[in-house]
């Protein structure tokens, strides 16, 4: 089998052993869920329930505002006890609907099967996806229906499902592909139909051979669908790198995947779409990998949106030793948390509790110009230069050296022997350059 890949990249330890063999389990039902009205990139939702209202599972509780936005649904049945700003994993406070569960899990009447895929039109599919509140489940949480509506002149001809799961530690997608490959393929077919394309790839890193086999079996006989093995290398699952690996096309600088005639979705997203079409159940639950040396019993769990990190961690036997860092997402791009009383949201792919040993915290030293960061940069940037410009506020130089093309994958910081905080500075420089550009436009 051919192994596809991209230029650059790095090999962080996979650290997936603890959970890759653990079958998915259902998390304990939460007594209280805190559901943020913004779990996606784009405009936040308006709550459409009031304190004291009774809600059911799958009932819409937040209405989308604008095109780049999706509605939010209740993950339990019970009573709304509060609507107020609460801390979430983005690090800030957002409006949340707090629901006290009646532990009945009564399903809302709107949740019914949407019929067979053959019977649905492309617009039907897009509408179902939007109404089901589906966003990219890989972590970025971009509304999926927006991706399915590229401008027609882009001539999109390929859909890629991202099953690379290149982030170390995480095994949520891996388990999904092993245990429910049919839904993944079904979702991909829905995407292909919605976009009217005939070519679909499912890209999976070669450290998950069992998942590749399972997916191949499920895709057998499905026209136009090809499962491809990808070289296990970080960031194989980054959109641009995945597109290059599968199609050898490059997304132009500053452009979108559609400019390379491709739409990319996560395998988890595909499964969520399958569920929404087959059962009508919107996105109210997701798979979360809870792992790291700082947790007693690592697990892959189906967790209801709105369940607090604390409850999930407790279900995994609580902390082991003295974890130094709690991360929402993977270790390369996830966000460190200072509080575990925050809800699991649509984009929460993992909860990592890392020990001191795993973190290797150390102070940055002077750059010795080893060039490692340049070697690993999947975009071909000069991170050391960008860091230097960004930290000195030399925005013009930073822009000239393509700071805006940085995908913030963290490969450079990971590899740096001097332990410099490259991405951190570059991210800042990037934000400043973008702010300047907006100012110049205004």
């Amino acid at each position: 089998m051919k192994k596809l890949t991209f230029k650059g990249g790095t090999h962080p330890p996979h650290s997936k052993k603890a959970t890759e063999k653990l079958a998915l389990e259902k998390a304990n039902a939460p007594k209280i869920v805190v559901i943020p009205m913004q779990q996606h990139i784009g405009a936040p939702c308006d709550p459409i329930v009031a304190v004291g209202d009774e809600v059911k599972v799958g009932q819409k509780i937040g209405e989308a505002k604008g095109f780049v936005s999706v509605p939010v649904h209740s993950s339990v049945s019970g009573k709304v006890t509060a609507i107020e700003p609460r801390l979430y994993s983005g690090g800030t406070k957002v409006t949340c609907v707090v629901i006290e569960s009646d532990m009945q899990d009564t399903i809302h009447e709107s949740v019914t099967s949407k019929g067979s895929l053959e019977a649905l039109s492309a617009d039907d599919i897009k509408n179902i996806i939007k109404e089901a509140g589906i966003v990219g489940m890989g972590g970025a949480a971009f509304p999926t229906h927006v991706k399915l509506a590229p401008p027609p002149e882009k001539n999109v001809d390929t859909v890629i499902l991202n099953g690379a799961e290149c982030e170390p530690y995480l095994t949520a997608d891996h388990r999904l592909m092993l245990e429910n490959p049919e839904d993944v393929v079904y979702g991909l077919q829905a995407f292909m139909k919605a976009l009217n394309v005939s070519k679909g790839y499912i890209g999976i890193e070669d450290n998950k051979m069992d998942a590749i086999e399972a997916m191949e079996k499920a895709a057998q006989g499905k026209e136009g669908i090809e499962v491809v093995a990808l070289h296990a290398k970080y960031p194989q699952g980054a959109e641009k790198q995945l597109i290059y690996a599968c199609t050898k096309r490059e997304v132009p600088s500053g452009g979108l995947p559609a400019d390379a005639r491709v739409v990319v979705n996560n395998v988890g997203t595909a499964a969520a779409v399958a569920k929404a079409i087959k059962t009508g159940m919107p996105l109210v639950e997701r798979i979360v990998t809870i792992t790291g040396e700082g947790i007693s019993n690592p697990k892959n769990l189906f967790v209801k949106i709105g369940t607090s990190f604390r409850e999930v961690i407790e279900q995994c036997g609580g902390f082991k030793g003295n974890p130094q860092k709690i991360i929402a997402g993977g270790p390369m791009m996830g966000i460190a948390q200072f509080n575990i009383d925050i809800p699991v949201i649509k984009g929460t792919s993992g909860i990592l509790t890392l020990s001191e040993n795993e973190l290797q915290l150390s102070d940055p030293l002077a750059c010795i110009k080893c060039g490692r960061c340049i070697e690993v940069c999947p975009i071909g940037l000069l991170p050391t230069k960008l860091e230097s410009f960004s930290s000195r506020n030399m925005l013009m130089e930073a822009e000239n050296y393509h700071v805006l093309d940085c995908i913030e994958c963290g490969s450079c910081s990971f590899i740096c022997p001097a332990k410099r905080r490259l991405v951190e500075s570059i991210r800042l420089g990037k934000a400043q350059v973008m702010a300047e550009k907006r100012k110049a436009k205004a």
């Binding site: 290059y244 130094q324 709690i326 791009m333 460190a336 010795i368 110009k369 060039g371």
Partner: protein, 307 residues
């Protein structure tokens, strides 16, 4: 299970195991075979020169850092490498105090005036060695034979001045006249390959450097194998030209660097006033490293099709 002191910092949250220290100590390990050989061939004299150079380099670094009121970070191993490399490039007949001068110049002029580790545009050991050979040309080019301890010339010198060749085997094993560390090509090669195997250095510079020397000597009618095995070429190609701080950062840049150094080396060897050109060639390419870096950039993803 309350948790108070969580570390909150920017991603990525994991780091590779490689550190500046591990790089430096691997370089030292790779230099050990040649160092041991130097001591085997030249006995106490070699040991003293090496020890004095290293101690002087560390002391100079510590004292300057102290004067500059900076943390005395001598455990990063870089001063040890500078001292060791310098010692390996000087003649076994050198007075000890000159080695001290070389180390102090290396660390002082070559490194600390530029702000210390990572900032110096020139390889510190080479600055020290260039200073020594220009300042004390006689002492720097008085060689002794490792076998009998008598005065002799280096294989390159013999070839250039008197047209006397030296056997490949002798060059490989190192029982020839020359600087402490440039006698045995084989041991240096082993050390260099170790560094490439460990991923500390890339092959681009050594291969393009050695390849250029071999190709050019063939074109210019000199024995390529002799040119490869003699003088400080192996030491230079694997341990000095590959100095990360002073060589280009990109693959393209490193290839240009190696080819340039190779060209200069062979020109100086065949036509120049000095019998050996490795030192000057690398120092000269150090001069142009910033410019190479400026123009030898990697291809950026998605750049071609952008407007």
């Amino acid at each position: 299970m309350e948790h108070g002191n969580l570390v909150v910092s920017s991603s990525p949250h994991i780091r590779s195991k490689e550190s500046v220290n591990s790089i430096m100590y691997n370089v030292i390990i790779a230099l050990l075979p040649a160092t041991v050989a130097a001591i085997y061939f030249f006995r106490l004299r070699a040991f003293l020169l090496i020890a004095v150079s290293i101690i002087a380099a560390i002391a100079a670094e510590a004292i300057i850092l102290k004067i500059r009121k900076k943390p005395i970070a001598i455990n990063d191993g870089s001063a040890i490498i500078t001292g060791l490399l310098l010692a390996l490039t000087i003649s076994p007949a050198m007075p000890l105090w000159m080695a001290v001068v070389g180390s102090v110049v290396s660390i002082g002029i070559g490194k600390q005036v530029y702000g210390g580790l990572g900032s110096n545009p020139f390889n510190p050991a080479l600055v020290g060695r260039a200073f020594l050979i220009i300042t004390f040309p006689v002492q720097m080019t008085t060689w002794i034979n490792p076998i009998d301890g008598l005065a002799t010339a280096t294989p390159l010198g013999l070839q250039k001045m008197e047209g006397i060749g030296t056997g490949y085997l002798e060059l490989l094993l190192g029982n020839v006249g020359g600087s402490l560390g440039e006698t045995s090509a084989l041991l240096l090669l082993i050390g260099g390959l170790y560094l490439i195997y460990k991923g500390i250095i890339r092959w681009y510079i050594p291969v393009s450097y050695l390849g250029t020397v071999a190709a050019m000597s063939l074109i210019l009618g000199s024995d390529p194998i002799f040119q490869l095995l003699s003088g400080g070429l192996m030491l230079g190609a694997f341990f000095m030209a590959t100095d990360m701080v002073t060589s280009p950062v990109t693959k393209k840049g490193q290839l240009i660097f190696g080819i340039g150094a190779g060209l200069i080396t062979i020109i100086v060897r065949l036509y120049g006033g000095y019998p050996e050109g490795v030192l000057f060639s690398i120092l000269l390419m150090n001069i142009f490293t910033p410019i190479i870096d400026k123009y030898a950039m990697p291809k950026i993803y998605g750049e071609v099709k952008s407007k």
